[in-house]
Symmetry: C2
Subunit: 504 residues, 2 copies
């Protein structure tokens, strides 16, 4: 009768503190969303001060002098805890280990530096002026490196692994290297064959615009409502860089609209919806505790990529959605058939922009960033030399060189925002997405037919049960193994690419 | 050489703490704004938890055990402080006195109760169902009363004065009673004469709609930009109940649009702009300290009413704005002359809704609320009997009875939101507005001509210098006396009403 015993007193006090921490972090999440969507530009310094203060308050809650004792006492009595509380305690210890490794001045310095750098990045990208970003990005890098060093010492891992571990608990560069090596072993060859195959067929017809923003917004809302996005607990807005923010009860997804091309924005909205559904599906009883948080960015990215790449770019969904696209824009004719639209949505073409990349070339964008951020953090590449190294890497991996830094090393918000160690989770997420979608289809042979009928309930139900409702009760690989029968690998992803892009 | 000496160490520590407090409060202000403008309805409980937590954190900063010592030590060494720091220390003491009177459980209880009640109020008002509001409003009242009792004991004033003092430092019911008695002495007679005078002329022609929301929004933005609202430091959005929120560097004003009538929304936007300009004009060096806050709600309301009632409903501004109104809606003809529009904007008619009331009848709406909230707080009127008492009072004071509670006692957010003791500041603000506008015109004889030319710089400059830039360095009456030559009175308001509504 271990489960459901009343928790021990130290544990109860920890739950109280982590609930407060959660409230502060959730407040910060809304303020972050506002900064990217609503805030007037003159308020950035004011907002930076608010966010820095909330970060320091959160840090202080975590590093309270009695916290080590509370954790130790709760752990000593952990036999009285049911499995969820035991997992919650493990997650408390994990986040405490990360946070207590940091001196308070670095917490505030990071918050202020990334706020300043994000603002500078917006301008620098607009003007394709990498030099204008250098001072603030250098500041962010210096702080990130100090944070990485402090955490590496505390966690007993390398600097890069310490940073990665923030985004993907248990994630290690040595595993990434192995998976990425496998990918590099077949991707270039696969890409060549896909491009050959594409050249053997007529190119799909372009969709004739323009596509008014309002019609795009309505179409996106209609489709994500069908998929399961709940507007009583979420919003869809506009930001320079699409993201999912807010809280599990208040999911804020964003996109950016281009009147000349609705496709990228629409798929972006479906992508963020995958993130949003994960958040909304986290275990309701543990909303305000560490164990109720999303497991990590690999599973998070798996949910967005599963929705966008696996489900919504699949032929059955395009069959369903093509009619709605024609209605949304009042269009018809040969370009607007499901067949042609599917051709457009599965077009493979090496390009400059990661977020616009197809799923065959996308991992190559990630390998470039992974390689560069490791080199920069290790001191092997100076920040000032980033544009050149970027362009060299693009030439090598993708065979294209961006004409300016706005289309090159200035395109992503991650480094200015302090998200060093984040990029590899995108491609690990793509591997997980393929693995999970294959398992969902195996468990439910009617899954694709349901999606083709606009019924996402079977897919969402399977994801809720096998991924979302797990929160952080198990590790990424444990969740994947339970759901799919094996730990994270490349096989399902490879099979998916071959089946979609090299049809027999 | 007292001024500009380095501040004493206790004072310096207090500045550090109040800066943190300010950041927490400013974060809360943005979250409050979001709740009323952007937040999906399913997130209300989540948001209530965030705001309650921030309130408790702010409370804890204020009631830290060493705060009394810090204040006492800083006060003992206050001869070393320059006048702004001395005033800042006085304001620290004032807010500490308010906050330390409250036990933490009431702080959190108030935040949660008002969040719940505000949500219930939205539904209750929609359905004209006062009974549905009773449980949560009763909870808010009970908590408000306990807060009032605790503060009354700490401040040595009555329960009502203790609540009023939160909104208007130094405000006392005995002064309000005297000013309101004066108003009641001439308002009913004046109202009768105004209505007689109106009847002696042809009624103004109605403006022919509909007025698309987008055109209304553009017109509002155009006019407030001219007046001086800075969209680099602010936004204009939509909410059920118009308000000014956000921070001095990030002013968030709201309105609600009615496609059948643009006039109320437009004047509402000009009204909130007056609030917003006050916030934006607060002393820049003291943004994050108590002395840099707005003095109180009397001066705050004076700024909105000065802008709306004194400046923008005046004939010279209407002469300027009428052309822009015609352009905004593509209109013309006899209804759209400045003369007719001015007639509409200065039309006097007893009605149900406070926020739609003309400035002659508006004080009567306030007297009703002031009377009722004092009776309820004193236990002389049961909450369940509010609708009846409301309707009786409307009949007595305004000669009209609302057909339902949505148009009656459910129209205002203040009581559900915990703003008991707030209402009288509207009418005190109207008196201050008349007094300040008369003084500004006396100081600058070309003021009205400038406004007629769309040049608000002379008016805004005078307000910046005489009101906004003072922050809380002096009391309301000191600021008024320096700016206008006398403390708050009714003479200027009476003269204004007679000159505008009973032209010779």
């Amino acid at each position: 009768m271990i489960a459901n015993n009343p928790p021990n007193a130290s544990y109860a006090e920890l739950e109280r503190r982590f609930a407060r921490l959660s409230a502060v972090n959730r407040a910060g999440a809304i303020l972050n969303w506002d900064r990217s969507t609503m805030m007037p530009d003159g308020a950035s310094e004011d907002r930076a001060d608010q966010l820095a203060t909330l970060n320091v308050i959160a840090h202080e809650i975590m590093v309270a002098p009695d916290m080590p004792d509370l954790l130790a006492c709760a752990e000593a009595a952990s036999a009285t805890l049911d499995p969820w509380r035991a997992a919650n305690l493990r997650e408390m210890r994990r986040s405490w280990a990360h946070e207590s490794a940091l001196p308070a001045d670095l917490v505030e310095a990071r918050s202020r530096a990334t706020s300043a750098c994000e603002m500078a990045w917006r301008e620098a990208r607009k003007n394709a002026d990498f030099k204008a970003l250098l001072p603030t990005l250098g500041e962010v890098l210096a702080i990130t490196r100090r944070i990485g060093e402090a955490k590496a010492a505390a966690l007993g891992v390398s600097l890069y692994d310490a940073l990665l571990d923030e985004f993907e608990p248990g994630g290690r560069a040595v595993h990434i290297d192995a998976l990425f090596d496998e990918l590099r072993g077949f991707l270039p060859d696969l890409l060549g064959r896909v491009l050959d195959h594409q050249r053997s067929k007529p190119a799909p017809l372009a969709l004739d615009g323009p596509f008014p923003v309002e019609a795009q917004r309505r179409l996106g809302e209609e489709l994500i409502r069908i998929i399961g996005f709940d507007f009583h607990h979420g919003r869809l807005d506009v930001s320079a860089h699409p993201f999912t923010g807010g809280t599990a009860d208040d999911v804020r997804i964003t996109t950016r609209y281009d009147e000349a091309d609705f496709s990228q924005s629409l798929m972006g909205v479906l992508h963020e919806t995958g993130h949003g559904l994960y958040e909304a599906g986290l275990p309701r009883d543990w909303r305000r505790q560490p164990v109720g948080n999303a497991r990590g960015m690999v599973l998070h990215e798996s949910q967005s990529l599963l929705m966008e790449m696996q489900a919504c770019r699949g032929r059955t969904f395009i069959d369903f959605a093509a009619l709605r696209m024609r209605q949304a824009f009042g269009k018809g004719g040969p370009a607007w058939t499901a067949d042609n639209i599917h051709g457009l949505y599965t077009r493979v073409a090496p390009g400059f922009i990661r977020v616009d990349a197809d799923e065959v070339t996308y991992p190559l964008h990630i390998m470039l960033r992974y390689r560069l951020e490791r080199a920069i953090l290790a001191g092997d590449l100076a920040l000032a030399d980033l544009p050149g190294a970027w362009n060299d890497g693009m030439r090598e991996l993708l065979g294209v060189v961006p004409p300016d830094d706005a289309l090159g090393c200035l395109q992503d918000i991650h480094w200015p925002d302090g998200g060093w160690g984040y990029f590899p989770t995108y491609t690990l997420g793509a591997l997980a997405a393929a693995q999970l979608f294959a398992a969902a289809r195996a468990a439910n042979p009617g899954l694709l037919a349901s999606i083709g009928a606009g019924d996402f309930a079977p897919l969402l139900g399977w994801l809720r049960e096998n991924v979302h409702a797990k929160g952080s009760v198990a590790s990424t690989d444990e969740i994947l193994t339970t759901a799919t029968g094996s730990a994270l690998g490349v096989a399902a992803f490879k099979a998916h690419l071959e089946s979609r892009y090299l049809p027999a």
